[in-house]
């Protein structure tokens, strides 16, 4: 339960902008606009992490999502033909909306139905150092597996997009 008004106001403002920009990603016509709105929602989510006192995760989110993944999306959009850049919908628009509504209804019901065991500890202090210890004490194995996963993803991406001609020679 966070009560001081500054943070609450910040939370509602950031929450509304994030949800609004997420909706705009669906609604806007041009694909590049959609990517830019997506970046806005990523930054909004980072704001929410700061409100929930997860400062390292917020900065990592900006660095990885807003910095790198958005550039990946921009490259993908530019490499694909200009013709398909309209952000148009398929025939499944209506059923998709219904399904989204149902999922939303179910989750909201579950949220308010279960009685969560609220902890009493307040804001976390600086989380970077303790996160680092967490990565090397209890979570050392997933940490190594994650690095293997990243290398595999990189090699896979390069193999997929390699043209026949280039055999990697400079």
């Amino acid at each position: 339960m966070i009560t001081d008004t500054g943070i609450v106001v910040a939370f509602y403002v950031i929450g509304i902008t994030t949800v609004a920009s997420a909706l705009m990603v669906a609604a806007v016509r041009d694909l590049i606009h959609a990517v830019l709105f997506l970046v806005l929602s990523f930054v909004g989510v980072a704001g929410i992490y700061v409100v929930l006192s997860a400062d390292f995760v917020a900065v990592a989110q900006i660095l990885i999502y807003a910095g790198a993944i958005s550039v990946l999306l921009v490259f993908a959009v530019m490499l694909t033909p200009a013709g398909d850049r309209r952000n148009s919908e398929t025939a499944f628009r209506a059923p998709a909306a219904v399904l989204a509504g149902l999922v939303l209804a179910v989750t909201v019901f579950v949220i308010y139905d279960t009685n969560w065991r609220i902890a009493s500890h307040g804001q976390f202090g600086a989380t970077a150092a303790s996160l680092g210890r967490a990565f090397f004490k209890p979570y050392i194995v997933p940490f190594e597996v994650a690095s293997v996963l990243l290398v595999a993803a990189m090699v896979g991406a390069i193999a997929l997009t390699q043209e026949e001609g280039e055999d990697g020679a400079a």
Partner: protein, 434 residues
């Protein structure tokens, strides 16, 4: 300390640390038992006002410094007409840009076209909020400060791309795609270079790094020269400054991403470039040269004055490279980042990790170990660069063969029909590079 000196120190009017002033104001509000959030808002406003005013003045002064210094390098005077020593020239430029009409091409993408310059300026200013200007004068003492800075510089890439893509013009698209490729490539060496420092000083908090340098009396530049070189080159690439100003390469793509901009939008792009340059040199000053600390000087002279002096020292380096070096080609630039800077940064990281491990395990006193590390790191940097040049250096001979001089005409007898170019016509020198 003499009586007079104690009078002005540690009181609210002690300008050595402006946080005393803001602390006094907050005290006043609390005494008048104002609402809690008012204090939060007022101190934020105070800090923001200080930074934005510094940036406004710095952008203007930088224009003047850059044009005068580059002018002197080109054996000409530089602006000296408007005002004494041309000081009002940047003001004149700004006014000219303000009253110029802002044109927008009909085919341009309105939303993206007008948002790009704003989005390009914001990261530059935000970085300033994290930097420590005095002993406890950091507006936002973010714990993961170094990662915060890197995240903001990567945001700039999107804004520049939006500008290039929005203006829907071939040259601008060229500039935009080059920027995206270049900034993403140069993010990796800069991350690794700063990581080396974080490893060494143990904290990611910028005030922490400055205090570390103050405690051990050594600016980290001396202890770790290689990360300085790597970070300087990669940040000059991210700032699109010569020798890597490929995004707005005048002689090739005539202005690159801001070719369609005019009036204050172009003014904002131009100012944003300078603001980013100031913020990057501020980062280098903080992390490598020890921000507001300077061997006892910061007790007497206000810390933030030393910090601004260091900012302009580093800024001179940027202006110097801009004034003298020609431009890379895009593929040479990217190859330089991938094949040279990233591997060097990794090797440096390994070495620094080993050094920190030894230092912590053996617990040797800093007085002995830091100069030793300084020598090792400098030797390592030099050896690595020389070895890398030998291994990966350009294939054509280092210094070209001197020209041949004929006193009489001498035309070799050659076949009349010029063999097709692609069959690799046997030129006079067999030593052609691949």
């Amino acid at each position: 300390m003499p009586a007079l000196l104690t009078l002005i120190t540690h009181n609210w009017y002690d300008i050595r640390d402006l946080s005393n002033l803001s602390g006094k104001i907050e005290q006043l509000i609390r005494d008048a038992n104002g609402p809690g959030w008012l204090v939060f808002v007022v101190s934020a406003l105070l800090g923001a006002a200080g930074i934005v005013s510094f940036i406004g003045v710095a952008a203007i002064i930088n224009i003047w410094i850059e044009r005068r210094v580059v002018g002197r390098m080109q054996s000409r005077l530089g602006p000296n007409r408007a005002g004494p020593f041309g000081l009002l020239q940047p003001v004149a430029d700004a006014m000219k840009l303000m009253q110029k009409e802002v044109l927008q091409p009909k085919v341009a993408d309105g939303l993206v076209f007008s948002l790009a310059p704003i989005a390009f300026t914001v990261p530059g200013i935000l970085v300033m909020a994290v930097l420590p200007w005095g002993r406890n004068m950091a507006l936002a003492n973010v714990d993961a400060g170094v990662i915060f800075i890197l995240a903001l510089t990567s945001l700039g890439a999107l804004a520049v791309f939006a500008g290039g893509y929005g203006s829907n013009n071939k040259y601008a698209l060229f500039g935009a795609m080059r920027v995206i490729a270049m900034l993403v490539t140069y993010e990796i060496p800069s991350v690794l270079a700063l990581l080396g420092l974080v490893l060494f000083s143990g904290t990611m908090n910028l005030s922490g790094i400055v205090l570390f340098q103050a405690k051990y009396w050594t600016p980290l530049l001396l202890v770790q020269p290689l990360p300085f070189i790597i970070y300087f080159i990669s940040s000059s690439a991210e700032l699109n400054r010569t020798p890597a100003d490929l995004a707005e390469a005048e002689s090739e793509i005539a202005g690159g991403y801001h070719v369609e901009y005019s009036g204050m939008k172009f003014g904002l792009f131009y100012a944003a470039e300078l603001i980013n340059a100031v913020s990057v040199s501020a980062i280098i000053a903080t992390v490598f040269l020890g921000g507001w600390w300077f061997y006892k000087l910061d007790e007497v002279v206000p810390g933030w004055m030393i910090f601004i002096g260091k900012i302009y020292a580093v800024y001179f380096l940027f202006v110097w490279t801009r004034g003298t070096l020609p431009r890379f080609r895009i593929d040479q630039l990217l190859a330089f980042a991938w094949k040279w800077m990233t591997p060097m940064a990794f090797l440096n990281l390994v070495l620094v990790a080993a050094e920190v491990l030894i230092w912590n395990e053996t617990g040797v006193s800093a007085g002995l170990v830091l100069p030793l590390y300084a020598v090792i790191n400098t030797a390592f940097a030099g050896a690595l660069i020389v070895a890398w040049v030998k291994v990966m250096g350009p294939k054509f001979s280092r210094f070209p063969e001197r020209l041949r001089y004929y006193s009489q005409i001498d035309v070799p007898s050659l076949p009349a029909v010029a063999p097709r170019m692609d069959e690799g016509a046997p030129g006079l020198t067999e030593g052609r590079s691949a």
